[in-house]
C-alpha cells in the first residue's frame, strides 16, 4: 500500500516534469523593455495617455541603450500616437521626425505608413485639413500600406473633407462602406452627422452609445463635443452647455490640454449667451491658462488619470 502511493507520487511528478519545458529567462534589457511596452499598451488601451507616454518613453530608452533601431522606431511611433490623443501636436511632430530619421537607415514600410497617418491626424488638429488630405491621398494610393492603416486613413480623409467643407465629402463618406465593430460604427455615425444635420442628434446618440459600450474615452469626448457644437449652432445653449461640460470632464481626465482649452472657449460663448458673464470670464481664464502651458489637474472639474 505504502509503496504503491510512493510510486504514484513519483509517477505524477515525472509526468508533470515531462509536460513542462525549461523557461527561457530573457536578459534584463529585453525583460525591462517588454514590461515597459506591455504597461504602456495597457495604459494606452485604458486611455491613460500620460502614463502610456511615460512607459513608452522608458521602453524607448531601453531600446536606444542597445541600439535596437527597429524597436526605437516603434516606441517613437507609440509616443507620437499617445501624444496626439492628448492633443500634444508639438511633441508628436518631434517624435514623428525622430522616427523618420531612424527609418531612413532601417526602413519599415508598416511603421512608415503609420507615421503618415499620424502626421495627417496632427494636421487636422492644427486645423490644416488640406495638408492632411494631401498626406492621406498619398497613403491611400500606396499599394504597400497595410489594410488596417488604409482603413483608418479613409476615416481620417473623410474627416478632412468635412473639415475643409470639400464638395466630395459625401463621396468619401460613401467609400467607408459597412463599419466593423463599435469604434468604426461610432466614427461613421459622427461623420454621417456632419453631413446630415437632420439626423445628427440620433446619430450622435448612437455614436455615444457605441463609444460607451467600448469604454473609449476619446470617442465619448469627441461625440459630446461635436453634439455640443451642433446645439450651439442651433442656439440650444443649455443643451450645448451640458454636452460641452461632459466632453470637458473627459478631456481633463485624459490631461488633454489642447482640446480642453478649445472646449473652454466654446463654453465661454455658451455662458455669455446664457447671460452668465462671471462663468464666461472663468471659462476664458482657464482657456488662457491651458493655452499657456497650464496644468490640467489644476483646473476645475479635473479628475485626472495621473
Amino acid at each position: 500500500m505504502k509503496h504503491r502511493r510512493l510510486f504514484l507520487a513519483m509517477s505524477a511528478t515525472a509526468l508533470l516534469t515531462a509536460c513542462g519545458s525549461k523557461p527561457v529567462v530573457p536578459p534584463p534589457v529585453v525583460s525591462n523593455s517588454q514590461t515597459f511596452m506591455a504597461s504602456g499598451m495597457a495604459a494606452y488601451d485604458d486611455n491613460r495617455y500620460t502614463e502610456a507616454r511615460s512607459f513608452f518613453g522608458r521602453a524607448f530608452m531601453e531600446y536606444r541603450s542597445v541600439d535596437d533601431l527597429e524597436h526605437e522606431a516603434d516606441a517613437l511611433t507609440d509616443l507620437a500616437d499617445a501624444g496626439l490623443q492628448q492633443g500634444d501636436v508639438t511633441a508628436a511632430r518631434d517624435q514623428i521626425a525622430q522616427a523618420r530619421a531612424v527609418l531612413a537607415s532601417h526602413p519599415q514600410p508598416e511603421v512608415s505608413a503609420r507615421l503618415r497617418l499620424l502626421e495627417a491626424t496632427a494636421d487636422l488638429l492644427d486645423k490644416d485639413p488640406a495638408s492632411a488630405a494631401t498626406v492621406l491621398d498619398g497613403l491611400l494610393n500606396d499599394a504597400s500600406a497595410p489594410a488596417d492603416i488604409k482603413r483608418a486613413a479613409l476615416f481620417t480623409r473623410t474627416q478632412a473633407a468635412y473639415d475643409a467643407k470639400a464638395p466630395d465629402a459625401a463621396q468619401w463618406l460613401a467609400k467607408l462602406g459597412k463599419p466593423e465593430g463599435d469604434l468604426e460604427q461610432a466614427r461613421l455615425d459622427r461623420l454621417q452627422a456632419l453631413g446630415d444635420a437632420g439626423k445628427a442628434t440620433a446619430l450622435y446618440a448612437d455614436a455615444l452609445q457605441h463609444y460607451q459600450a467600448a469604454y473609449y474615452r476619446p470617442g465619448i469626448a469627441a461625440a459630446h463635443e461635436e453634439w455640443g457644437a451642433l446645439l450651439m449652432s442651433q442656439q440650444d445653449w443649455k443643451g450645448a452647455r451640458d454636452h460641452l461640460q461632459r466632453a470637458l470632464n473627459v478631456r481633463l481626465w485624459m490631461n488633454d490640454a489642447t482640446r480642453s482649452a478649445r472646449i473652454f472657449d466654446q463654453l465661454q460663448q455658451v455662458d455669455t449667451a446664457l447671460g452668465d458673464s462671471a462663468t464666461a470670464a472663468q471659462d476664458a481664464k482657464w482657456s488662457d491658462y491651458l493655452k499657456n502651458g497650464g496644468d490640467t489637474t489644476k483646473t476645475p472639474y479635473s479628475g485626472s488619470s495621473n
Partner: protein, 321 residues
C-alpha cells in the same frame, strides 16, 4: 532473513573476543586518565619529588593555603598548610619542588609580597649563596612581613604632626605685626587725603568751576539726548519684553522638537541605510519568483490556460477620434 539482519554484531562475537574488546576500552580509559594527569597544568607536578620548609609570621596578611612560593620570579611551590605554633604565631608550611632545592641555602631569606596588603599575596624566597649549605627538608626559614596598613598609618602620623606645627607658627607670625608699623601706614594714608584736598580746591577755583560747569552742561545735554532715545526705545523694549515672555516656552518646545527630530532622523537614517540592501534582496526574490512563474507557465495544463504576453510594439490602429 530480515530478523537475522537486525541482531547486533556483538552477539555474533565469541566470548574471548568480547573480553578483549572490553579490555581495550578499559585500557584506553586508563591511558586517557594518565595523559590528562600528566599534561594538566594543575596536576603536572603531581609526581614530582618535593621538600617542605617551615616559617613563622605574626600576621597572615592574605596568605592562604595554595599561596604561591616564588624564587627569581618562578613559582617553585606553594603554601601547603597554615597552623598555630606553640608560641601563638602562625606556622606556615611550604611545599617546594625538589629540583629547586639547591637554590634554598642557609643564608636564604623569605618575605611576603608587599602587594599582599591588597590581596595579591605571594612568598618570595631570596636564593642563597652557593657556598652555603642547603636548608634541609622540614627546616626553618626566616620569613619577614611587609608593613600592615596600621603600620603605614603610624609612620604618617609624625608627618601630620609637623604640618600642624607649621600652621601654628604661621598663625603666630600674623599676630606679631608691631603697632609702630601700623602707625606709619596711617601716616601715609593722611598724606594721601591731603593730596585729595588740594585737588578738590582746584576744582573749587573760578577756572576749575568754569571747566566743571561746561563739563556738567555737556553731560546734561548728553543725558537729555539719551533720555529721548530711551523714550523711543520704550515701545520696542515693551515688544521685546512681550516676545521674551514667550521665549522660554518656545525654547523648551523647540528643544523638544529638535530632540524628537534627531531621534526620528536617526531612525530614518538607519532605515535608509538598510533600504538599498532591502531593495536589492527584494529584486532578487522577485527575479526568482518570476523565473518560477515562468516555469509554472510552461507546465501543462497551466500553459494552455495562461495567455501569452503580446509581443507587439505598436499601438492598435483605430480610426482617429
Amino acid at each position: 532473513m530480515a530478523e537475522r539482519e537486525q541482531v547486533h554484531y556483538i552477539h555474533r562475537l565469541s566470548y574471548t573476543a568480547r573480553e578483549r574488546l572490553v579490555g581495550v576500552f578499559v585500557l584506553a580509559a586508563i591511558l586517557l586518565l594518565f595523559l590528562l594527569l600528566a599534561f594538566n597544568r594543575q596536576t603536572k607536578d603531581f609526581f614530582e619529588p618535593k621538600f617542605t620548609l617551615h616559617a613563622e609570621i605574626t600576621d597572615a596578611q592574605g596568605v592562604t593555603e595554595d599561596t604561591p612560593v616564588m624564587v627569581y620570579g618562578l613559582q617553585v611551590g606553594k603554601v601547603s598548610r597554615l597552623s598555630l605554633s606553640p608560641n601563638n604565631h602562625i606556622a606556615v608550611t611550604m611545599t617546594l619542588l625538589e629540583k629547586f632545592h639547591k637554590l634554598i641555602r642557609a643564608d636564604s631569606t623569605a618575605e611576603i609580597s608587599k602587594l599582599s596588603v591588597i590581596g595579591n599575596a605571594a612568598i618570595s624566597i631570596k636564593a642563597g649563596s652557593p657556598d652555603k649549605p642547603e636548608i634541609p627538608s622540614d627546616g626553618n626559614l626566616e620569613l619577614s612581613q611587609p608593613m600592615s596598613v596600621d603600620q603605614m598609618l603610624a609612620q604618617v602620623q609624625p608627618v601630620l604632626a609637623d604640618v600642624k606645627s607649621t600652621l601654628s607658627q604661621i598663625n603666630q607670625l600674623t599676630h606679631s605685626i608691631s603697632p609702630e608699623d601700623l602707625s606709619t601706614i596711617m601716616h601715609n594714608m593722611a598724606a594721601l587725603s591731603g593730596n585729595l584736598k588740594v585737588i578738590t580746591n582746584q576744582f573749587a577755583s573760578p577756572e576749575g568751576s568754569a571747566n566743571l560747569n561746561a563739563a556738567l552742561q555737556n553731560l546734561t545735554n548728553t543725558l537729555k539726548q539719551a533720555q529721548g532715545r530711551l523714550a523711543e526705545l520704550q515701545p520696542l523694549i515693551k515688544n521685546a519684553n512681550a516676545a521674551s515672555a514667550d521665549l522660554p516656552g518656545l525654547m523648551a518646545q523647540t528643544h523638544t522638537l529638535v530632540t524628537q527630530l534627531n531621534t526620528t532622523m536617526g531612525t530614518v537614517n538607519t532605515q535608509l541605510q538598510a533600504l538599498p540592501d532591502l531593495v536589492g534582496r527584494t529584486r532578487q526574490v522577485l527575479d526568482e519568483t518570476d523565473a518560477t512563474l515562468r516555469a509554472v507557465d510552461n507546465t501543462w495544463p497551466i500553459s494552455s490556460s495562461v495567455a501569452k504576453k503580446p509581443t507587439t510594439t505598436l499601438t492598435p490602429v483605430q480610426p482617429p477620434p
